[in-house]
């Protein structure tokens, strides 16, 4: 058992386990927790005898620790869904020995269910309801009352004017319990269950599934259809029903205790009305089921359950739950996955790999940070070195073969995963197997994928390594050496208009000239935009920026730190040069020109320039969509920069909003305090009035700041969407007039990148839907583009 490590100034060094000088009851409570959480683990006796033993211990502790035990059991029901049947059995045994305790537990569960629903914890609510339904199998809850609860849930489908995701979720909850309790409920209440079924069927037929295409990892139906999650679950339950509820996968320890349990008295669930729809409710988003394997893929050993078998559902559900529970502890997570009960009857490695990739590729975003999956897969390979790496290689091969129809966002993640994974295994891969990518249009997904993988791999190693690891035939896909390209490199550039100035500026910088001196030099740089005889005005001089930045970055090219130092040292000059939007745009152009062979450097420089306000987010967006960058438009680094820029904008807004909230809280506390203390002392009143006045001023300033930041944020999205619409419309019109196929690799990339912006930033974009619909995504838009917007709206229906 690991305890929270607390530092203590009295301790010598840092002892990992602080000695507890606390009283006995707390130690007993910890012990109870540990016993319950770890029941069945690492034991030589059977699970059943462990449960029997534990039930005896808990029964004896009930007089003194009943509430604690109730709370622990409620927690495991909510937080350890993968061990559902273990704990329902335990509760069943306790109920058989102590009827009152059983009743109190059920009541506590209902209270907990209400809490989770109130707090938008919908996934946990599903686990709680599933737990309750399995308690029917343990003779704790009477079947008819469970059916009644289900009927109340399904009645939500009759509600009007509620988001579809609300009724979806209640239907999902009921269906997902049936693998565990369908048999029992049908035996006791078949007429009611049939009625429930036809209600569900009717509802599912009427569902709108416009959101599904946006969430599919592959657009192709072959080899595995990417099914909408409720459709898939419904098919699985129907098949289970047809098989007369015969289900052999779920581990059911309570069967061994049947003679004891069926003597127990059952409780009735209190009537449970689902809470009404609240406007701020955040129901889970719909999903598409990820499938990449079927029974033909595991060459030997146990057969993989079919896509519409309930076993498949249960296995996937449990594996997802294990990851959810243990994702922070990669060794434990890997061990738990690999010791899945019943693993000898299924091709477990395939299921694990499928579930992990399913999460990694999940749209809009994976449930956990991407890098976790990379490290988890490495741990799994370590634990099963004889079998898992082969499955992983097979999976990678399959993913490569299906790249043509894979969603661009998912390809991004595959690129990042694969390159990082390879870097842990000396980049060993059978590249020759992929030589088919060399003979097709380099803009197609496969060669593009290999190119991006090599680029990312190079970032984790170095250029020569890439040359060494791939066959000579792949030379065209190897990235360029990440060298600086200096326009004013040598004498051959002497004819360029900026050349003389570049020498002067370069020397000035090396001799530590002041900013004023350098600005004076730059003033002398001729302006190619200006008429010879027109000395008036300060029209924008791109050459100034060009000369200064090229020279500066050249001097600082050695490393990121050198370049950051340079940007910091000459911040004043750079700000002066980029006062206007044209300046901001041009500075980005120059950065690209000099570092176009080192996209990683471009990204970090752009990041720094935004953070130090040399450029703003809108400038970056405009630059990425500009004609100058059109030839790079399908490269991954462009989109990484764009999304990083949007994220920075979002974080900026959040930060100021938080400052505002804190100031408001402070004011409230101050006012509250003043009311309480008023009349005590005149001086104090005056002081606190002053403070309040200051706070109010501060709040006003922050309010303005928030509004200005939000306005900038809205503008950023408008710029981005506007640019997308322009580019896509141009392409569509051109194709239609030329009667050419719309779906080029460029188009697929562009339209999916538009989707990606919606999906990755959906929380923020929600705020601006009205504006977007009125200004941009109007009915006049080409239906191809409008469809993306409509699919996005459908996600929240």
């Amino acid at each position: 058992m690991s305890r929270r490590r607390h530092s203590d100034s009295e301790n010598e060094g840092s002892q990992p386990h602080k000695r507890r000088r606390t009283s006995e009851p707390i130690e007993i409570e910890d012990r109870l927790e540990s016993l319950i959480c770890r029941v069945g683990e690492k034991s030589t006796s059977s699970l059943e005898s462990n449960l029997e033993g534990l039930a005896g211990v808990l029964e004896a502790d009930l007089p003194n620790y009943k509430n604690k035990i109730l709370r622990i059991l409620c927690s495991v029901a909510r937080l350890l869904p993968e061990k559902l049947t273990v704990y329902t059995t335990l509760v069943g045994l306790l109920n058989a020995r102590n009827y009152n305790f059983g009743g109190e537990f059920v009541e506590a569960m209902i209270r907990q269910l209400k809490e989770t629903l109130k707090n938008n914890l919908y996934n946990e609510a599903v686990y709680l309801v599933r737990f309750l339904s399995d308690l029917v199998n343990c003779h704790v809850i009477a079947a008819p009352s469970m059916v009644a609860m289900f009927e109340n849930f399904i009645s939500v489908t009759q509600e009007e004017d509620v988001p579809q995701v609300r009724s979806d979720w209640f239907v999902y909850m009921v269906l997902s319990c049936l693998p565990w309790v369908g048999k029992e409920l049908y035996e006791k209440k078949d007429a009611e269950m049939d009625r429930l079924f036809s209600q569900i069927e009717g509802y599912l037929k009427g569902r709108v599934k416009a959101h599904a295409p946006m969430l599919q990892v592959w657009t192709a139906e072959k080899p595995h259809p990417q099914e909408e999650y409720l459709d898939c679950l419904w098919a699985q339950i129907q098949k289970l029903k047809k098989d007369r509820w015969q289900e052999r996968h779920i581990l059911r320890p309570y069967i061994a205790f049947d003679s004891v349990l069926c003597e127990a008295l059952q409780h009735n669930l209190p009537p449970f009305t689902p809470p009404g729809h609240m406007p701020d409710a955040q129901y889970p988003m719909p999903r598409v089921v990820f499938r990449m394997f079927d029974y033909t893929d595991a060459p030997e050993g146990p057969v993989m359950p079919g896509s519409h078998s309930v076993e498949r559902f249960v296995i996937e559900e449990n594996l997802h739950c294990i990851i959810q529970t243990h994702w922070k502890e990669r060794k434990t997570c890997a061990a738990q996955l690999l010791s899945y009960p019943g693993k000898n009857k299924i091709p477990l490695n395939y299921h694990i790999v499928e579930v992990i990739f399913g999460e990694l590729f999940q749209l809009p975003t994976p449930p956990h940070i991407d890098v976790m999956y990379t490290t988890l897969l490495i741990e799994l390979c370590k634990l099963q070195p004889g079998s898992l790496p082969q499955v992983l290689a097979q999976a990678t091969e399959m993913l490569y073969m299906r790249l043509d129809t894979m969603n661009t966002s998912c390809i991004d993640r595959l690129i990042n995963w694969f390159s990082h994974h390879l870097s842990n295994f000396q980049f060993r891969w059978s590249w020759d197997d992929w030589s088919d990518c060399l003979t097709v249009d380099p803009e197609k997904p496969k060669p593009k994928f290999v190119k991006e993988v090599l680029e990312k791999s190079m970032r984790l190693s170095y250029h020569q390594r890439m040359v060494d690891i791939v066959p000579a035939t792949f030379a065209a896909l190897i990235p360029a050496e990440p060298n600086f390209i200096y326009k004013y490199e040598d004498e051959s550039a002497s004819s360029l208009p900026g050349y003389p100035a570049s020498i002067t500026v370069g020397n000035a910088i090396k001799n530590r000239a002041t900013n004023e001196e350098i600005l004076a030099i730059l003033k002398e740089v001729p302006n190619p935009n200006q008429e010879d005889d027109d000395d008036e005005g300060e029209s924008f001089n791109p050459l100034k920026i060009d000369v200064f930045l090229q020279t500066l970055l050249h001097l600082a090219a050695k490393s990121f730190s050198h370049s950051f130092s340079a940007l910091g040292k000459f911040h004043e000059i750079l700000k002066a040069l980029t006062e206007r939007d044209e300046g901001k745009l041009h500075i980005l152009k120059v950065v690209y020109e000099v570092w176009r062979n080192h996209p990683q450097m471009i990204a970090v420089l752009v990041d720094k320039m935004i953070r130090t306000q040399i450029v703003d987010c809108a400038a970056v967006a405009n630059w990425l969509f500009s004609q100058d960058m059109a030839h790079e438009f399908t490269r991954l680094f462009v989109w990484e920069i764009l999304h990083s820029t949007i994220r920075k904008m979002n974080k900026h807004v959040q930060k100021i909003q938080q400052e505002l909230e804190e100031a408001k809280d402070k004011l409230e506390k101050q006012q509250h305090k003043r009311q309480k203390d008023s009349g005590d002392e005149e001086d104090m009143d005056k002081n606190s009035e002053d403070e309040e006045g200051q706070l109010e001023e501060q709040i006003e300033r922050l309010q303005e700041k928030v509004e200005s930041a939000q306005s900038e944020q809205k503008n950023l999205f408008l710029v981005i969407f506007q640019r997308f619409i322009m580019l896509l419309t141009e392409h569509l019109v051109r194709c239609e007039t030329g009667s050419v196929e719309i779906s080029t690799p460029w188009y697929k990339n562009c339209i999916e990148r538009l989707q990606q912006v919606f999906l990755m930033h959906h929380v923020t974009i929600q705020q601006y839907m009205g504006t977007l619909e009125n200004l941009l995504f109007t009915a006049e838009l080409d239906p191809h583009i409008l469809a993306v917007y409509q699919q996005f709206c459908a996600l929240q229906l």
């Binding site: 305890r3 530092s7 529970t325 990379t374």
Partner: protein, 189 residues
């Protein structure tokens, strides 16, 4: 109604290790507090040839990196196999401890640990020869870390390093690092 189960909140990769920087200015309590709030990680067992670019690439996978300071040999002013990575958020650093610690960079298993925060001067190795202490008495030949230890002879070495070696931290420099160009030597990787 329900409790946070201690048995389930395990996050051992994020826990503070037993190492404490003996040069830290302040008492143990202060140091502990800083470590628990820190956004900065010490990274060890780097190849001498690992670059800031590579460090940035891999550590960016867990969050936005604010600053990297490459550790330098105090005498030679060249990279000597460690660095500091500072994140904008605590979460970025935590995820690095969970998912990047113990994985490979440049074919070497790198190790991350919480750091109380970079201060000028901590970018230098504290070994007598200018590199890290751990390299002073190394018995093996490690081409990525300067070959043999600076003081030991390859043929025999009855010398055993003083224990514990954990009390000296080597820190990184703020002036831009000068990287050796020998990374492209063939045969190394």
């Amino acid at each position: 109604m329900s409790v946070k189960l201690n048995a389930l909140v395990s996050d051992s990769y994020v826990d503070v290790s037993q190492y404490r920087d003996q040069h830290f200015k302040g008492n143990r309590y202060d140091q502990e507090k800083l470590l628990k709030q820190s956004h900065t990680l010490y990274v060890g067992n780097l190849s001498f040839y690992s670059t800031e670019d590579q460090v940035h690439e891999i550590f960016s996978k867990s969050g936005d990196v604010k600053r990297i300071v490459i550790g330098l040999d105090k005498v030679k002013k060249t990279a000597c196999g460690f660095c500091f990575v500072e994140y904008y958020t605590r979460t970025g650093a935590e995820n690095a401890m969970r998912f990047i610690n113990g994985t490979r960079l440049d074919d070497r298993i790198i190790r991350t640990d919480w750091d109380a925060g970079f201060k000028e001067g901590r970018q230098y190795g504290r070994g007598k020869s200018g590199g890290q202490v751990r390299d002073e008495y190394r018995q093996d030949y490690d081409p990525a870390r300067g070959g043999y230890a600076p003081l030991s002879l390859p043929l025999h070495s009855p010398y055993s390093p003083p224990a514990p070696v954990i009390c000296l931290l080597h820190s990184a420099v703020s002036t831009p690092p000068h990287q050796p160009c020998s990374k492209y030597l063939s045969g190394f990787h």
